[in-house]
């Protein structure tokens, strides 16, 4: 019963503190709006500036030798060489040997200065590529289809056009880098299409003006222009939906990012509460009134828990009505919210006990100014984790907010309960671990408390 009274008192105290309210409630709402609008373009264009390169796997589903052989047979067939002089046919065959669609895609395109800044690729066997995608070692798998060489040679060297369907498979958890890869591949397709269209116009114009096979004579020069066309590709990334999952907008992302970051400030606020009580002598008064110190600690734990829940409720409601953020199924969102608040309360309790023991606010200050910012960076509260350098990505598991952020985003994207239960477990375990730690720290403080004895120095003198 005393714990309930302590919690109610603490909540009243926090709610009557305008500075604290501004920090834990108003600030995240303002940042949510600013970042939503400020980063909207970034989410749409994928221009994340100095981001690390995106790893992809390229799978060759074709048989290169067979495709080349087949193309040669096609050139020699009566249907194709009909009406073409021997020299022209020979020249076309030589051009065909020089044109290498695989080299164009891998060497001229993916290795071009512009694309290589963003993408790093490795040619893989199909199964291995899928394994790497599942384990998130790569953000996407690019499938060069069956007959790729043959179809591309036909498209590039003959008046005909075969359909070439380059497929891009992405990991739903890496939606942003997946979008980048898709857009880059689309840029390749567009560039190739314009070259092929140019070639077709040339051939058709030659035929129209009855120039016979002269239209094919410039084919070699035309194809030599492909390399410069590849170099000229500007990567223009569009917003591409990830298959089967809802796309995350900047409003969605930063609503979650700010929520998961700012609930950490509730822990920071809670971290000061015990020492403030000690300094105000109210802690001593509670001890005098027969309140066990673990009871006082429990009061702080539940206070932080409720403050975090209050923050979460306000931010979800605000983002839903003002920014039109769809948070997904209610039950999983509630579960993530409760476990996040629990873990924050655990951290807040440990911070409170440690700050109390230290007798100064250094620890709470370091937590608020250093630890929260670091967690925010590693957890993806500033930028999505999958665009950060891989070293940072590996450290993201250290961030409590990062775990909560991933769980909320999964639900937003349409995943089910089974996908977030692991995150909920981790958050709950973090909360329990820190709660036990806080009890151990405060127990070590002994049964009685030290009061200020500011006059002792005078006594000594």
């Amino acid at each position: 019963m005393k714990i309930v009274k302590i919690v109610l008192k603490d909540l009243k105290t926090v709610l009557s503190d305008k500075k604290a309210l501004a920090m834990i409630l108003l600030m995240p709402l303002i940042l949510m709006i600013i970042l939503n609008f400020g980063m909207k373009g970034v989410f749409m264009s994928g221009d994340f500036g100095d981001m690390s390169r995106i790893n992809i796997a390229v799978v060759k589903q074709y048989d290169k030798a067979e495709d080349i052989l087949r193309f040669d047979r096609t050139l020699s067939s009566g249907f194709f060489s009909q009406g073409m002089s021997k020299e022209t046919a020979e020249e076309l065959r030589e051009s065909g040997e020089d044109v290498d669609p695989e080299g164009i895609f891998l060497g001229d395109f993916l290795d071009s200065e512009e694309v290589a800044k963003i993408i790093s690729y490795r040619v893989e066997e199909e199964n291995r590529a899928y394994e790497r995608l599942n384990s998130r070692e790569v953000s996407a798998v690019v499938l060069l289809p069956d007959n790729f060489i043959y179809d591309m040679k036909i498209n590039m060297l003959t008046p005909f056009r075969n359909k070439v369907d380059i497929r891009v498979l992405t990991h739903p958890d890496m939606s942003i880098s997946g979008q980048v890869v898709r857009s880059i591949v689309e840029a390749y397709s567009d560039a190739m299409s314009s070259v092929i269209i140019g070639k077709n116009v040339l051939v058709e114009a030659a035929m129209e003006h009855d120039l016979g096979d002269d239209g094919f004579k410039g084919m070699k020069e035309t194809m030599e222009g492909i390399s410069s066309a590849m170099e000229g590709i500007r990567v223009d990334i569009d917003n591409v939906e990830v298959e089967g999952r809802k796309n995350i907008s900047s409003a969605d992302y930063y609503a979650v990012a700010m929520l998961t970051m700012f609930i950490l400030f509730a822990a920071g606020h809670g971290g000061r509460m015990l020492l403030e009580e000690k300094e105000n002598m109210t802690y001593h008064r509670m001890i005098m009134a027969g309140t066990p110190k673990l009871g006082i600690l429990a009061g702080k734990f539940f206070t932080v828990f409720l403050i975090a829940l209050l923050q979460i409720s306000i931010m979800i409601t605000f983002s839903y009505y003002v920014l039109k953020v769809q948070w997904g199924s209610t039950l999983p969102v509630m579960l993530i919210s409760l476990s996040s608040a629990f873990s924050v309360a655990g951290v807040g309790s440990t911070l409170a006990a440690a700050t109390f023991k230290a007798g100064n606010y250094k620890m709470a200050n370091i937590f608020e100014t250093g630890v929260i910012q670091t967690m925010a960076l590693l957890g993806g509260s500033f930028f999505p984790v999958d665009i950060l350098p891989s070293m940072f990505q590996k450290l993201s598991f250290l961030s409590l907010n990062g775990t909560a952020l991933k769980a909320y985003l999964k639900i937003m994207m349409g995943y089910g309960m089974e996908e977030i239960i692991g995150y909920v477990g981790v958050l709950t375990a973090i909360g329990a671990l820190f709660l036990v730690l806080s009890v151990l720290i405060l127990r070590g403080e002994g049964e009685t408390v030290n009061v200020k004895y500011n006059k002792i120095k005078t006594a000594k003198a």
């Binding site: 105290t13 009557s16 008064r285 005098m288 004895y453 006059k455």
Partner: protein, 311 residues
């Protein structure tokens, strides 16, 4: 009947002896004063009696039971008014009283009734709906006292409850203390204000540098300097050189420089006053005021320690 017995109490902080072997008894129904300058060890003593701090050595018995062995059961019988304002400034007076009452196990109608009674006692009935940070210093002090009264303690321990407040509030608090005592409450009152202790306390323990230097009723303490009178002189140039000259005046037992004034103690000062003035004139000094004081606790403290309570 002895309510509290403190026996050979010590408290060390490292090599510093904050409390050094003090002993006293508090009788049921009395106001017991702990008088001493800042740093004398009063607050440390109070903290040990309040069960907030264990002594390094010694015994504290409440109604014959050791507070070190049974702190939890004894805490309910103690009301402590700390020197600092132990309240929540952003809550109202009413919310503060309600919270502290509930910490002592009061609830419902009983709590509300007791809050009204306490509000009457401390004279804050009309202001309980205001936030504490809007209160004056005196009002905060009164509410600080009120929070310690809610559970009807048998022993009220007040640690310098009038520090930093206006005379009107101070008088109100002193009258409140007397009223509580009239109602049967035993009170330990610590202060470095000699007048307050003289006004309130039936028995007094004088402390300095962690030690008890005298204890007894006011009469018993003043008896220590029986026949001696204190003369306080303000000079234009109060130097140490003149102290030697004054000490050589026949009948003068002490001459000290205290807070810029010359304090002369002696027997029959009325008679030797002329000699004192003459000696000062010999030294070429001009006297701006002379104050002949009756024997009081200030004089006792000066007599015993050679310094003023406010040093």
């Amino acid at each position: 009947m002895t309510l509290l017995k403190v026996d050979n109490l010590h408290k060390n902080f490292g090599s510093t002896k904050a409390v050094d072997g003090i002993s006293f008894r508090v009788e049921k129904g009395e106001i017991f004063g702990l008088l001493g300058p800042n740093g004398a060890g009063k607050s440390t003593t109070i903290s040990m009696i309040s069960t907030l701090m264990p002594p390094t050595k010694g015994e504290i018995l409440f109604e014959g039971r050791s507070i070190l062995e049974e702190p939890k059961s004894i805490r309910q019988k103690l009301g402590v008014v700390p020197q600092d304002i132990a309240l929540y400034p952003t809550l109202t007076g009413y919310e503060n009283l309600g919270f502290w009452g509930s910490m002592y196990g009061l609830k419902g109608a009983g709590l509300r009734k007791r809050m009204e009674e306490v509000a009457d006692i401390i004279g804050l009935n009309g202001r309980l709906k205001d936030r504490v940070d809007k209160y004056s210093g005196g009002m905060k002090r009164r509410l600080n006292i009120g929070a310690a009264l809610l559970h009807r303690p048998e022993l009220l321990i007040m640690d310098e409850p009038t520090v930093g407040i206006d005379p009107q509030s101070r008088n109100h608090i002193l009258d409140t203390v007397l009223e509580l005592n009239r109602q049967g409450m035993t009170i330990i009152y610590t202060s470095h204000y000699m007048e307050e202790v003289e006004y309130l306390c039936s028995r007094i323990c004088i402390m300095d540098q962690g030690r008890m230097i005298a204890s007894g009723t006011q009469e018993e303490l003043v008896e220590l300097i029986k026949g001696e009178t204190l003369v306080s002189l303000k000079l234009d140039k109060p130097g140490k050189d003149i102290l030697e000259g004054l000490r050589s005046v026949k009948g003068v037992t002490k001459a000290e420089l205290v807070l810029g004034e010359i304090a002369v103690t002696g027997e029959n000062v009325d008679i030797i006053l002329a000699d004192i003035i003459a000696r000062i004139t010999e030294y070429g000094r001009r006297i701006s005021s002379i104050d002949v004081k009756k024997p009081n606790l200030e004089a006792v403290f000066l007599h015993l320690t050679g310094k003023a309570l406010r040093d």
